[in-house]
Amino acid sequence: MNMPQIDILEKDFSNFDGVINHCPHGYRVLDYVPVGICIFDKNYQVIFWNKCLAQWSNVEPPDIVGKNIIEKFSTLNSPGFKERVDYVFKGGPPVLFSSQLHRNTVPCTLSDGSYMIQKTVISSMPSSAKPDEYFALMAIENATELSRKVSEYRTLRNKAMEEVKLRKKTEEDLRETNKKLIEHQDIKMNEERLKVLLEMSGATAHELNQPLMTLLGTIELMCMTQDIPEETLKYINNIEKSARRIANIVSKIQQIRQYQTKKYLNDVSIIDFNQADPLADSSTEVKI
């Protein structure tokens, strides 16, 4: 077997009879390490309990040495604990207990009343007295500060993530509002244009209708006159055609209900008079 032996463990183990009423002298050096140390045998009876662990847990060595550690601390009676640790007594690999899955192995109250969060490693420790016999060395680290720092970091990170999320949503809302505002502006502008257009078309139609009626009436009277030369009658018919065409345009102006333009020459837009009547003559248009 290729097992390294720790010198301090060479002493006192020949006297170990299962229950030790005092701390083996060789372990005393473990009283000076800043981690909680406990050594127990395969029956889970405590052999050594260092000063650090005594201070943290308020359990003095005489109150725990020789007693069953699982019976003393119910936190160790969790599912899987014994199953994992049993293998340590056969020389198996160290067993880890993380602070997230096991808040603590030995409950220790801190000055603020909260429980210490712990990280625990239980390692196999060969006995110098009996070959193939192993003890369990439980080393407990105080992971409270680390856990608090990580929790603070997570809180800050989540807050930052929330802020980023909120900012993205605000930006999205702003874009949407801006889009609606532009749409609203377009609608208002079109309404204004239409209003002006309707006023203009109404006035135009009204003002043009009066002289147009006079013109058409006069043409009709002229046509009823006897002995008009044929050449003159031809001219009168042309005047009547144009007057009726003007009457048609006036009628279309009266029918305008929306502001609708179409392209004209040189990038100029003109009001589309044919909007209400798609079959109407496309030559009837007004430049704006």
């Binding site: 077997m1 290729n2 097992m3 390294p4 969790s78 599912p79 899987g80 199953e83 994992r84 293998y87 020389g91 198996g92 690999p93 160290p94 067993v95 880890l96 207990f97 993380s98 602070s99 997230q100 899955l101 990280k119 490693v121 390692s123 196999s124 992971a143 680390l146 856990s147 990580v150 970091y153 997570r154 990170r157 993530m161």
Partner: protein, 204 residues
């Protein structure tokens, strides 16, 4: 000795040892956690450190690698590692502790991942140790997070004659299926010793 000759039966025996080991690990995890976890080893192979480098780059994709490393010394010496791409490792911990999946692999998660790795690797090493009657001296498991290139440059991987016994392990937890690698880094001589021990034990 610079080449590994291993028969199909020997490889199957190693696969069986790994399956027994991860089965024990799954059993422990199921007693500890509220979710149900199934572990299996679909295939096992032995690759050179050079080939492993390429495998690891493909396995990690663009992520860093998170690993739990357990070194052992004895009749056979080497290092056992459970490896995942870091994002996958973080997702695994998130499922196991019922947390949201959008957190980084911080110190708390690294500690939890280290415990999960410890349980799985202890199962595998315990299985090898018990069934083959081998005794090891173990170091305390440690968490490693690095990019694949740095991981590959570790001395244990880059040694000229080191080989890797690679066991692809499937973690099935509720509806999540993820693959991790259990890698046993050993020198060629150690792998030969392992194969010889298996031959004697199973009388191939």
């Amino acid at each position: 000795m610079d080449k590994i000759n291993i028969s199909h039966e020997q490889l199957e025996a190693i696969k069986e040892l790994c399956n027994i080991g991860v089965g024990k690990g799954a059993s422990v995890l199921n007693t500890m956690l509220s979710c149900h976890i199934t572990l299996s080893v679909p295939h096992v192979k032995i690759v050179s450190s050079k080939d492993f480098k390429e495998e690891l780059k493909l396995f990690a994709k663009d992520s860093s690698i998170s690993a739990v490393s357990l070194s052992f010394k004895g009749t056979i010496s080497g290092s056992a590692q459970l490896m995942f791409p870091t994002e996958t490792a973080s997702s695994l911990v998130a499922v196991l502790v019922d947390e949201s999946d959008d957190l980084d692999m911080d110190a708390l998660r690294a500690g939890t991942f280290c415990e999960v790795g410890n349980i799985v690797l202890n199962g595998v090493m315990g299985s090898i140790s018990n069934i083959l009657d081998l005794t090891f001296d173990y170091s305390v498991p440690e968490y490693i997070e690095t990019d694949p290139e740095n991981f590959i440059n570790k001395p244990s991987v880059t040694q000229q004659d080191s080989h890797v016994l690679l066991a692809r392990t499937r973690f099935s937890i509720d509806e999540l299926d993820i693959d991790g690698d259990i890698a046993l880094f050993m020198k060629i001589a150690a792998i030969h010793t392992l194969i010889e021990t298996i031959e004697k034990k199973f009388e191939f």
